[in-house]
Amino acid sequence: MPKTLLELKNIVKTFPGVKALDGVQFNLHQGEIHGLMGENGAGKSTFIKIITGVYQPDGGEILLNGQPLRFSTPMDAQRHGVAAIYQHVTCYPDLSVTENIFMGHEKLRKVTRRIDWTRMHSEAQKLLNQLNAGFRSQIRMGDLSVARQQIVEIAKALSTEAKIVIMDEPTAALTQHESQELYRITESLRDHGVSIIFISHRLEDIERLADRITVFRDSRYIGTWQAGQINQNQLIVAMVGREITQMYPKHSKNPGDEVLRVENLTRTGYFRGVNFQVRRGEILALTGLVGAGRTEVCEAIFGIAPFDDGSIFLEGKQIQWSSPVDAQADGLAFLPEDRQKQGLILEWEIGKNITLPALKYFSNLFWMDPNREAKEAGRLASKLAVKAPSIFAKAATLSGGNQQKVVFAKLLIRNLKVIILDEPTKGVDIGAKAAIYEIIENLAAEGYAVILISSEMPEVLGMSDRIVVMKQGHVTAELITDQTSQEEILNAAMVAEVHHA
């Protein structure tokens, strides 16, 4: 019987109007990787914040090595050997890597109490070397890539001699390759006796890493399994509470004429010589690793970022959009990656959000027409099955999936030809994912040309007609979905030679 390090029993936490955790339990063994899964809103984040001392539970008990205790502050939790690596890297970009590692527990000289820079730098470097980091500890944190910043976060956890490390969706912002590196580091941590709570949406993360898996749903504890005891389908059932029989809708494949074509599109430093076209009623997947330049290409097409060379043709006519205003007027819509920061005004009601891209249509010469606005917003919200009492509900009160539906409604408010979707299911729970796939499929069926930027292989293979793969700013493959395989795509995304012009 392995030794239980941390045990939480019957934890309850309520916020005004919401029960965030309802009698949840969890136990962590010495030296294991324990996967924690659940849809958004299942209570994982609150649970983590209780372990790290950010929140205090309203009920239940926490046992560390069998001793009951409470973590009153994050510092307190740190002293007891708990460290957390959060989803969005929480670093100090203006400070050095060394300072980032030791912030909060700086090394001081004995008598003068001044900071012992020599010791801190050398210890930091030792930690980085131990993680095979390959960069110096004096570097400014802001100059590092996200993946490297994450390595610094892990070094930070090591420096506190943490016995329990919590990783909150660490792979969300990483490329495939970087994820592999993170797996390796995580496993080596475990082999050194650290216990790890690994939270992730990606089934592949959990499958690859976890020794045991716990699932939360709707603020409740559902169960804990040994890694071998549960397969992917059962895991999904546990998380969603029902079986999703048909994740990807049946796609009728009869694309029409070409709508949008880009030729030799180039932006120095981001992408070079990009060619592709998309036809009416077609879903074109644009895939590759994060940072391959997919979003940048589409932002350049949409006019939100510039390009240096090449041309864009809409229905055969060459066009140059210098701002999203022009692009929208010609029938292009763009669903940005970050729905909270780029897609919605969270403080606004649903209706006002939906009509934002088309204010012109709802005003006569000068004045806005609130009635026409409400009608149209209501029609679109119903069409996309946004779950809300009325169009006057604030966007912030919706779940992630419903927020994404509102962003879709924003696209449809105008007459469109081409729709670009940038990671439309990112951070959306599995139930809502299926609904969004259905929306995308319906868009294609209605005759829109859809460009789907996605990093998720099953999504790319399940949804698209054709696939364009990018690597380091170049197109490395254009594939027909029915005639390709995951291996071929990954090969193009990670291995293929890029010919530098």
Binding site: G53, V54, T73, P74, M75, Q78, A84, Y86, T90, C91, Y92, P93, D94, L95, E99, M103, G104, E106, L108, R113, R114, I115, W117, G134, F135, R136, Q138, I139, D143, L144, S145, R148, T175, H177, T268, G269, Y270, F271, R272, L289, G291, A292, G293, Q472, G473, H474, H500
Partner: protein, 334 residues
């Protein structure tokens, strides 16, 4: 995706490059003025330049800390006037008071106002610009109220008090000595103490600071407290130097101080600010004030030129940064 190795050390960090540019600019101005009027680089003129810049320099240290926490303090001109007025009144009432006590009085009063701003910003989450704008009015009004609209003039102040600003230590004017001490302490504080570094951490990323358990609010409060204390000190020095305390003393002086910080490369969005840059920024502003009369530029031009230099500095900053970013993109070979 392979990244460039970051192991080689760059010859100059961007901030150092910026400071080098500023230094060259100062030298160029100095040279130009010297050619027009040889008095500029005389010992006596340089002494007076630094004596006149000392107070600005002292205040700039406090303002840098506030700016580093993503704040701003517009109330310091008023605090200078108030502390100056109150210490001058005290000295007028008790002529035998040791100068040292007067300085302490000023610092404490300044810290009280600093603490109030600090509470408003750090505890009650009022925007710094709004909180200190309000404080500026309140304190300025109080200055008139305590003085009853009167001035305190030179003859009412003891020689000992005035010697705070005119006396010398090791042959150097006291004001310069005090400024040097403040800079040495500040340099040590922000580089070698835990609290100093944590102020920078909070400015660099407040959310991260909260999550990792740094006392974010207390650190921001501290920055305003220090700023208040330094303004109080500056108030006493100001009144001793000009041997007069008035209701409208140092009106608008906060703008000069912020200007010195911005010229010195302190970022208004927090987390960035170096002592050496700050010294250069202060000196540049001091030279502008000192040199313009020497080359027969009417004092009425001073304000406009100052404003233009600030604008030019921040725009150059942006253009240089854009250029470095473009170069970095080219090197990415995509």
């Amino acid at each position: 995706m392979p990244e460039k190795p970051l192991n080689q050390r760059k010859f100059l960090q961007p901030e150092q490059l910026r400071e080098l540019g500023l230094l060259l600019f100062i030298l160029a101005i100095g040279l130009a003025v010297q050619l027009r009027n040889p008095v500029f680089l005389s010992i006596s003129n340089i002494t007076s330049l630094f004596t006149n810049t000392a107070i600005l320099g002292i205040l700039a240290v406090g303002m840098m800390l506030v700016l580093v926490t993503r704040g701003i303090d517009l109330s310091i001109g008023a605090i200078i006037a108030f502390t100056g007025m109150v210490t001058a009144l005290t000295v007028a009432r008790f002529p035998g008071l040791p100068p040292f006590v007067a300085i302490l009085e000023g610092i404490i009063i300044g810290m009280v106002f600093g603490a109030l701003s600090g509470i408003l910003v750090a505890r009650l989450d009022v925007l710094p610009i709004i909180a200190t704008l309000g404080m500026m009015n309140v304190v300025r009004g109080l200055t008139y109220v305590v003085s009853g609209g009167q001035w305190v003039s030179s003859y009412q102040m003891s020689d000992g008090f005035k010697a705070i600003a005119t006396g010398k230590l090791f042959g150097i004017n006291n004001l310069i000595v005090i400024a040097i001490v403040v800079y040495i302490v500040a340099a040590y504080y922000i580089r070698h103490t835990r609290v100093g570094r944590r102020i920078y951490a909070v400015g660099s990323n407040p959310e991260a600071a909260e999550i990792s358990g740094l006392p974010r609010r207390r650190l921001i409060f501290l920055a305003y407290l220090i700023m208040g204390g330094l303004s109080g000190l500056a108030g006493v020095l100001w009144v001793a130097k000009f041997a007069s305390a008035q209701g409208n003393t140092a009106i608008g002086y906060e703008l000069n101080v912020i200007a010195a910080c911005i010229l010195g490369g302190v970022s208004i969005s927090g987390g960035v600010g170096r002592i050496f840059g700050l010294i250069l920024g202060t000196v540049l502003l001091g030279i502008l004030n000192n040199a313009l009369p020497l080359i027969n530029v009417s004092p009425f031009w001073q304000m406009g030129i100052q404003g233009l230099v600030i604008l030019a500095a921040v725009i150059t900053n942006v253009l240089v940064r854009r250029n470095t970013e473009r170069d970095a993109l080219r090197r990415r070979a995509i």
